[in-house]
C-alpha cells in the first residue's frame, strides 16, 4: 500500500520536500514510517523524542496502523511564540 508522508519546518528543510510517497507493507505503523525516514535522513533523528504525529489531519499515536492512501504527518514542536516575559 502507499502512504503520503508530510513534514514541516526544519524537518522539511532536511528532507528537502514537503511530501513524500512511500510504498509500505500492510500493518505499517506511523512509528515505522518515522524510523524508515530516520534511516533515509539521519539528520532528523534529533526529532525522534519531540515530534507529534497526525494521521489524515488528526493527531494520532505513533503506534497507529496506517491504511492504504493515508496521509501521515510528522510535526516538529510548534513555535510557541515569544519566551515568557
Amino acid at each position: 500500500m502507499r502512504v503520503n508522508i508530510r513534514v514541516f519546518a526544519r524537518l522539511r528543510d532536511i528532507v528537502g520536500a514537503a511530501e513524500l510517497d512511500r510504498d509500505v507493507p500492510t500493518g505499517t505503523t506511523a512509528q515505522r514510517i518515522w524510523d524508515d525516514l530516520v534511516e533515509e535522513f539521519p539528520d532528523i533523528s534529533t526529532y525522534s523524542g519531540s515530534i507529534s504525529t497526525a494521521v489524515n489531519a488528526e493527531y494520532a499515536k505513533m503506534e497507529t496502523v496506517l491504511d492504504d492512501g493515508d496521509e501521515v504527518a510528522f510535526l516538529p514542536p510548534v513555535s510557541g511564540g515569544e519566551l515568557p516575559g
Binding site: 508530510r6 507529534s52 489531519a57 510535526l75 514542536p77 510548534v78 510557541g80 511564540g81 515569544e82 519566551l83
Partner: protein, 166 residues
C-alpha cells in the same frame, strides 16, 4: 455577500475590522443580552526577538490540522464562556516587521469574558496550533521551535486558563 469564516489560516493580510464585524453580527449563543464587549488581540512581527534583529518571518502551517486546532479552541471557549463568540485568523507565508501574524477577536455581553477568552485563545494557539515560524536575520535564519503540546494535555489547558486569569 459571503460571510467571512470565523476561523482561518490564510496568506492574505489580516483584517481586524472584518473579524470584528464577523463576531459582532453573529448571534450570541444565549441571545439574551447582546454584545457589550469586544476584546481583540493582534500578534505582530517584532523587530527584535531574543536579542536578534529580525528582517522577516516565514510562517508555515499544516493547514487542515491548524484549522482543527482552531475549531477545538473555539469549542473550548464556548464550553467555558457560553456567551462568547470567537474569530481567529492566522496568516502564513512571508511577513515583514510590523505585519500582523495572528488576529483574535472575542465578543461577549460583558468585558470580563471577552478579555479572558481572547487571552485563552492566543495561549492555546501557541500551545497546540501546528504553525511554525522561521526567523530571517541579516546573515542567516532559524526555525523557532518550542514545546510540543498534546491538545489533550489538561495541564496545558490549565496553564492557558491561569494566564487568562480565570
Amino acid at each position: 455577500m459571503m460571510g467571512l469564516a470565523r476561523l482561518a489560516v490564510t496568506t492574505e493580510r489580516l483584517n481586524l475590522d472584518a473579524l470584528i464585524r464577523c463576531v459582532h453580527d453573529a448571534p450570541i449563543s444565549d441571545g439574551s443580552e447582546g454584545t457589550g464587549a469586544v476584546a481583540s488581540f493582534l500578534g505582530l512581527v517584532r523587530e527584535y526577538n531574543l536579542g536578534r534583529r529580525v528582517v522577516k518571518l516565514k510562517y508555515e502551517a499544516y493547514e487542515p490540522l491548524a484549522l482543527r486546532a482552531f475549531e477545538r479552541i473555539d469549542n473550548e471557549i464556548v464550553e467555558r464562556w457560553p456567551t462568547a463568540r470567537l474569530a481567529l485568523h492566522h496568516r502564513i507565508g512571508v511577513l515583514t516587521i510590523g505585519e500582523v501574524s495572528v488576529a483574535i477577536v472575542v465578543a461577549s455581553p460583558h468585558r470580563a469574558d471577552a478579555f479572558a477568552a481572547s487571552r485563552y485563545a492566543i495561549e492555546r494557539v501557541k500551545q497546540i496550533a501546528p504553525i511554525w515560524k522561521r526567523e530571517f536575520f541579516k546573515d542567516g535564519d532559524v526555525w523557532i521551535e518550542g514545546a510540543t503540546t498534546d491538545p489533550d494535555d489538561a495541564a496545558a489547558r490549565e496553564e492557558a486558563f491561569r494566564l487568562a486569569c480565570v
